[in-house]
């Protein structure tokens, strides 16, 4: 079976260092795939290259076509979306405007209002605050807005960079519940996380990235019981 999205031997040079070396991974349709690993392993660099913000060597194939040399905007038009670690919201624009801009790349504007209603159903807090400037939201709300804004583009592949970073445990649980629920929309997800336990509990398949290389991979339910990973990333119990 051919994958929806695959990286083959991708190398990314960042600050004159190969931050990511010969990484190969694949995401099947409707699957949640996670890349876990310590801080500085190259996880964010990998996603930045996958969306086109950093240039890379190797092959990147999305739905049968090579997107490796395409611009960020061309990838977004093919419905490959990234929610970056820094969220990159439009802080002095309203929540509603941020969401509307999420749909910018859609040529067919007829379904935008329905998608907006769906996002508000999923995140009622955003609906309450739709007129508020994005910069005034709390950390959890900002993450919800970043996720909601990405969903406005009706993504086929959604890449999430550390969605739980800096959030309170209760909010983290809510965010992961939301990510798991995106399965029913048929969205494929590539999830990069330091919170390895939560990521593996949500994902179907996992890769372990250390110092820029994939050192281990397998079904998430196997990785979560792997003794080495338990000691290194899952809190040792």
């Amino acid at each position: 079976m051919s994958s929806m999205f695959s990286l083959s031997d991708v190398t990314v040079c960042y600050d004159n260092v190969d931050a990511v070396r010969n990484v190969s991974l694949s995401v099947e349709e409707g699957q949640i795939v996670t890349v876990i690993g310590p801080n500085g392993a190259g996880k964010t660099t990998l996603l930045m290259a996958a969306i086109g913000l950093l240039s890379s060597k190797g092959r990147m194939v999305f739905q049968g076509s090579d997107i490796g040399k395409m611009s960020v905007e061309d990838r977004v038009e093919r419905r490959v979306c990234l929610v970056p670690e820094k969220r990159e919201l439009f802080s002095d624009m309203s929540v509603a405007d941020n969401l509307l801009l999420g749909s910018y790349s859609l040529r067919d504007r007829s379904g935008v209002q329905k998608t907006l209603d769906d996002v508000y159903d999923r995140f009622p807090r955003l609906k309450e605050r739709q007129r508020q400037a994005a910069g005034t939201l709390s950390g959890g709300e900002r993450q919800m807005l970043a996720l909601g804004r990405a969903l406005m583009a009706k993504p086929k592949l959604l890449m999430l960079d550390e969605p739980s970073l800096g959030l309170a445990p209760l909010i983290v649980r809510e965010i992961f519940r939301t990510i798991a629920s995106l399965r029913e929309l048929g969205v494929s997800i590539l999830l990069v996380e330091q919170n390895a336990r939560a990521a593996l509990e949500t994902a179907d398949y996992g890769y372990v990235l250390e110092t820029g290389e994939i050192v281990q991979s397998g079904p998430a339910k196997d990785l979560i019981h792997d003794p080495r990973l338990i000691t290194a990333y899952l809190g040792g119990h």
């Binding site: 960020v72 979306c81 439009f90 801009l101």
Partner: protein
């Protein structure tokens, strides 16, 4: 100075300031979207006035040839960069946007001009002919260095202004022009005579800044421009192309500058190099507003206009000296104020 004279000077200052405000708003628009401080905006205003004067005199303006040459250059550069990145499939789009569209505008203007059109049509023609200049200059000059520092972009922008002044002399000649007034209406308000032209300037400034406000708040394209200004990476992740946002910003900015040129031409004699002072004063107004705020830029520009009006009453030879000297303390105050806020952020 009597109160009557003060009132006349104030009204005169507001009208001049309104012209600067249009250019200042355009300057802020371009700066926030592309990080370029576009000094040649004043030249665009002057070129529009010169274009209108040529059309009034039933001559085809030099702007036509200028646009054709810039369009050819821009197309050549675009084709080269497409060939280099192996994206020649985008060639038809590049040709239609950088070559056919500007040529069509010039061609249409040439045809319409032969039919001896009324003033309203000539105004539209003058605006249409000057609007492609800035986006084409953007493609030729700024796009290749888009990732440079603000200082590099500013230096190139100043150089570009001098190049444009030279081109202005070449295409328009050394004669100054003053176009016919757009209206002969005048009214007396609180004992002061206000000319229709003054009213028109203020109304046009209000209408065009109002339209810009509506465009930013109520259209997706307008919002995409604001998004690019607020967060470039974030907007790219939404599929908003910074180059396209830049082109739209240049087109809109040119429209504002062009309108200000048309408004000022019946009041002041405009030469090929008159744009510099208009651009510089608008730039100062924009700086008073912090380079990022539209109302701030407009208020700053009107302030510059009023100051200039009173200064020219005291000493017409020294008016520019007075205007720019008084701005030094304002700039020092602004830089101290912004330093202070950065410290607060760090805390």
């Amino acid at each position: 100075m009597t109160s009557d004279i003060a009132a006349i000077l104030a009204i005169d200052g507001i009208a001049t300031g309104a012209v600067y405000a249009l250019v200042a708003i355009g300057t802020v628009l371009i700066f926030t979207v592309t990080r370029v401080i576009f000094i040649p905006f004043g030249d665009i205003a002057a070129f529009t006035a010169l274009t209108l004067a040529a059309l009034d005199a039933k001559r085809f303006p030099g702007t036509g040839a200028l646009v054709v040459i810039l369009a050819c250059l821009a197309t050549l550069i675009e084709i080269t960069s497409l060939a280099r990145s192996g994206e020649l499939r985008l060639l038809p789009r590049a040709l239609s946007f950088y070559l056919l569209l500007p040529l069509a505008v010039v061609g249409a203007a040439w045809l319409v001009m032969r039919m001896d059109p009324p003033l309203a049509v000539r105004l539209v023609l003058a605006l249409m002919l000057t609007m492609p200049i800035s986006p084409l200059l953007d493609r030729i000059v700024f796009r290749p260095i888009a990732d440079g520092t603000v200082l590099l972009l500013l230096t190139v922008s100043v150089a570009l202004h001098f190049a444009l002044v030279g081109l202005g002399l070449l295409f328009f000649g050394p004669e100054g022009v003053r176009t016919e007034p757009l209206t002969s209406f005048s009214t007396v308000f609180a004992g002061v005579l206000i000319s229709g032209q003054t009213l028109l300037i203020v109304i046009a400034a209000l209408v065009f800044s109002g339209l810009l406000f509506l465009f930013f708040d109520f259209t997706l394209v307008g919002k995409s421009l604001r998004a690019t200004a607020v967060n470039r990476t974030g907007s790219r992740l939404m599929g908003i192309r910074p180059e396209r946002a830049g082109t739209i910003a240049y087109l809109l900015g040119s429209l504002m500058a062009g309108v200000s040129g048309i408004l000022i031409a019946p009041v002041n004699t405009v030469f090929y190099d008159s744009g510099f002072l208009i651009g510089l004063k608008a730039f100062v107004g924009a700086i008073v507003g912090g380079m990022t705020s539209y109302p701030g830029a407009a208020i700053g520009a009107v302030g510059v206009g009023i100051l200039e009006s009173f200064a020219s009453f005291e000493s017409s030879a020294l008016k520019d000296v007075i205007v720019f000297s008084l701005l030094i303390p304002i700039l020092i105050w602004r830089s101290l104020a912004s330093l202070h806020s950065e410290e607060e952020i760090e805390e």
